[in-house]
């Protein structure tokens, strides 16, 4: 089997994940795109393990470890997302700008006409 097929599929899947991480605004959709990127890496690991006929099966074992780490990551990520939702009533990553550097009033991303949420007022006071 030609090694080019899994490598190209993996590269395309990774760039699809990059697009998803950058373009989505819902935090759970961002997590899904991260899962796509992790799967692209897994495909690469398995393909090269099979290609090198590794006696120790380092690639496939590392794939299993990556799957476990991805499960832990999505569990913790969802816990954080739920905590953000509990505090802010939204999980829109574009509007979570508390840690942003440019706090100039003209650059606020909040759409005009929207009432300021309670937590903004609390944080300002």
């Amino acid at each position: 089997m030609h090694l080019l097929y899994p490598a190209v599929v993996s590269a395309l899947l990774f760039s699809v994940g990059v697009y998803g991480v950058l373009a989505r605004r819902n935090a759970i959709l961002v997590l899904m795109a991260v899962e796509l990127m992790l799967n692209a890496v897994n495909l690469n690991l398995v393909a090269f393990d099979v290609f090198w006929r590794d006696r120790l099966h380092g690639g496939q074992v590392l794939t299993l470890f990556t799957i476990v780490i991805a499960a832990a990551e999505v569990g913790l990520g969802l816990a954080i997302v739920l905590l953000v939702y509990r505090n802010r009533q939204m999980i829109d990553v574009d509007r979570l700008r508390d840690l942003a550097e440019d706090r100039a009033p003209g650059k606020a991303l909040d759409p005009p006409g929207e009432a300021t949420p309670d937590w903004v007022a609390e944080g300002a006071s």
């Binding site: 089997m1 395309l12 495909l43």
Partner: protein
């Protein structure tokens, strides 16, 4: 082009196509369901590559657990069910970055591995082989990983419990009011 390559190419098209649908669909539940299709096609690709144990682990953990967890997250955050605007404002910059990444990676991979091929040997990824590899060679990373899973479990519990944490003097009254308001909703 052998039969194996044809099957893998078809599965790859399905995986990448449903991945594109995951990141472009306007319905958030559909995104999770397309993720199932993408992971399933990748599991098929692992089977073609003779990594059968990894394929079944992929089906069990990704399709069985991770997607269900993501669906739980969608439901618990009361995401808009139905068509909604889910893309952020920097979609075109993201498209440019992703296209650049894809171009660079595919060019490098094609230039590097053009003409390299090896027929996979059956049985290289069976549960017996992988079990021997994990518990002979990679047993220390395996144990470290179990500690990591425990830490992630404890961390998730600590994050999702609301009744623990450092006491905030002076904010107790505020918090009680806030909690009453949440129960009303």
């Amino acid at each position: 082009m052998t039969g194996q390559e044809i099957v893998f190419a078809l599965l790859g098209v399905v995986a990448v196509g449903s991945g594109v649908l995951v990141v472009t669909t306007r319905q958030i539940v559909h995104a999770a369901l397309w993720l199932v299709v993408s992971f399933g096609a990748l599991a098929g690709g692992y089977l073609v590559l003779t990594a059968e144990f990894v394929a079944w682990v992929q089906v069990l953990i990704y399709v069985g657990a991770v997607v269900v967890l993501l669906l739980f997250g969608i439901m618990l955050t009361r995401a808009p069910i139905g068509a909604a605007e889910l893309d952020s404002g920097n979609r075109w910059a993201a498209l440019a970055v992703a296209a650049g990444t894809a171009a660079v990676l595919v060019t490098v991979v094609v230039l590097g591995f053009r003409g390299v091929s090896a027929p996979p040997k059956a049985g290289g990824g069976s549960a017996e082989e992988l079990g021997a590899a994990v518990f002979r060679t990679w047993v220390l990373p395996f144990e470290v990983l179990s500690v990591l899973l425990l830490a992630a479990l404890v961390g998730a519990i600590v994050l999702s419990r609301s009744d623990i944490g450092p006491p905030e003097p002076g904010h107790e009254a505020d918090r009680d009011v806030h909690r009453d308001g949440e129960e009303d909703r």
